[in-house]
Amino acid sequence: MITVDKLRKEFKKTVKEPGLKGSVKSLFKPKSEKVVAVRDISFSVEEGEILGFIGPNGAGKSTVIKMLTGILTPTAGSCTINGKNPTQNRQSYVKEIGVVFGQRTQLWWDLPLRETYGVLKEIYEVPEDSYNRRMAFLNEVLELEEFIASPVRTLSLGQRMRADIAASLLHSPKVLFLDEPTIGLDVVVKDNIRKAIEYINRHEKTTVILTTHDLADIEQLSKRIVMIDKGTKVFDGSIAGLKTQYGQIRELTFETGVANAAAVLEYAKHFSLGEEDVSVETEGNVVKVRFNSAAVPVSDILSYTLNKVSVSDISVKDADIEEIIRRLYGQGAV
């Protein structure tokens, strides 16, 4: 369905030296600097798949989405969606896709929402009866009714986002690109939006690529994630795969009466562990130890702890995905 092959995007940035002298200089002899935003990324997406596209700020996610939607032309490499090249024949390509950029709206600022959908209906040539059915459905999952008569500029962020997602789905696109569709939304709205995406994906086999910083989006929607950092792909696989590959992290939590338990225990020193393999947090009389179970077995840590200090309550659990990602982002990739 979607094939991305060694996709690369370089931006030219004009750099200006500071001060008036710099301004004058750049007026006559602008200096430019090459920024590689996306570095030879390849991946493919099957029909009906929901791909979660994640990475820290500035990783290049939006740039990839812009290339896939035909807004930016790749510097090198290629992407094919449904057999089409996005930058060639833009008008016929965009008919088959739906796009939402969470940061900006694609709706007419001054039109009441209902009219906007009317405009989109004509643009995408949606027949009357399927349009009516579609609107009824979108109304139901995204609850548009309460603000459908208001001009777009008067909508709240959450309302606008729902309206935008409805707009991207109106023409039953084969592929849906969502760049941060849940940014700045409350829990209930987030949930509705996820439900809508899931429903469309299940019933219409819509292929979805979604970027987000909210890992709950990914956990609820997609089986597969592609992670990029500094323009390079660092992981491609299932969430379970991510957990087994990087997820030897365990979290030991216990309650103790000993005031300076962390100092007494000195895990790093005792087990000769590096900073990346263990970290300790103390909150009142609760101590949290995150450690790499590949470097030190769970049983060793447990018995050592129980022997050294008096413990009233203790538990060990798997690190959640968020923890793994935090480590990956923090290390500046792998």
């Binding site: 807004i71 965009v94 694609q106 405009v119």
Partner: protein, 272 residues
């Protein structure tokens, strides 16, 4: 063609809705225009009263009044915001939203602006035409209204609007490609105003200059329709000037397509 119309008609509607929202803006714009119309009138009144000639370069004072009113009307009919809107959309990145829709970028602008203008133009054109006719009748004592002139005038105005629209779009793209020449927009308005005869009828200019200016696209904006309405162009001359207008429409239409392509490439290396 019919399908095309169906796609772009909603943009006319969208444009009409916008006007409803920004009616106050529009009223101020019209007031400003009317004011400059009065200023022009007083300047010419002074010029004519200080001179001793009845007619200057083929214009009598009453004809000059008609000219000024018609220039004002034509000016508002052909006014286009393209240069400004294109610049803004590129700068704030909202151009992206038009790119992900299966429609022609320039055409969406055109129809949106038509929707913007149509209701108001109809509302002001009729009273203005009546004013012109009343002035003319009062001065000469006979009704000079000529339906054919009016129809030709409106047709010529339509062509002039298209020239104005595509010219402004081209200007907007150019401003983007060679970076922000923003004061350029102001300067453009002054220069275009002069070259199109909005300040001084082109027949007031020395021979060679007049010929050059008449050929330039700017005369095709305001001057040609006004001359047609005043009955100064007839027969072969009329055909020539309408032909010239058609030529400039096609010229700027083609150029706008080309510049759109260049801008998209540019946008794509600089980013939105």
């Amino acid at each position: 063609m019919k399908r095309k119309l169906k796609i772009y008609l909603p943009f006319v509607n969208a444009g009409m809705q916008e006007v409803a929202t920004y009616r106050v803006n529009w009223i101020f714009f019209m007031l400003g225009e009317a004011l400059s119309c009065f200023v022009t009138y007083f300047i010419w009144a002074a010029v004519y009263s200080s001179g001793d000639k009845e007619s200057m370069n083929g214009f009598t004072m009453p004809q000059m009044i008609v000219y000024i009113v018609l220039m004002f009307l034509t000016g508002t009919i052909i006014a286009s915001d393209g240069a400004y809107v294109v610049g803004e959309e590129i700068r704030d990145g909202s151009i992206i939203m038009r790119m992900i829709k299966p429609v022609s970028y320039n055409a969406t602008f055109l129809f949106q602006e038509l929707g913007n203008k149509l209701p108001t133009e109809i509302a002001i054109a009729a009273p203005m035409i009546i004013t012109v006719e009343v002035i003319r009748t009062m001065i000469s004592g006979v009704l000079q209204f000529n339906a054919l002139s009016l129809i030709l005038y409106l047709f010529s105005c339509a062509l002039a609007y298209l020239i104005s629209f595509y010219f402004n779009i081209c200007f907007g793209f150019t401003a983007f490609v060679i970076k922000y020449l923003w004061g350029a927009n102001m300067m453009k308005n002054v220069v275009v105003g002069f070259l199109s005869g909005a300040v001084v009828p082109l027949s007031f200019l020395p021979g060679v200059l007049e010929k050059v200016f008449l050929f330039l696209p700017f005369a095709s904006l305001n001057y040609t329709p006004v001359m047609i309405y005043m009955g100064k162009y007839t027969g072969a001359q009329l055909l020539y000037y309408i032909g010239l207008q058609v030529f400039w429409v096609l010229f700027f239409f083609g150029l706008s397509k080309l510049l759109w392509r260049i801008s998209v490439k540019r946008l794509s290396s600089q980013g939105g």
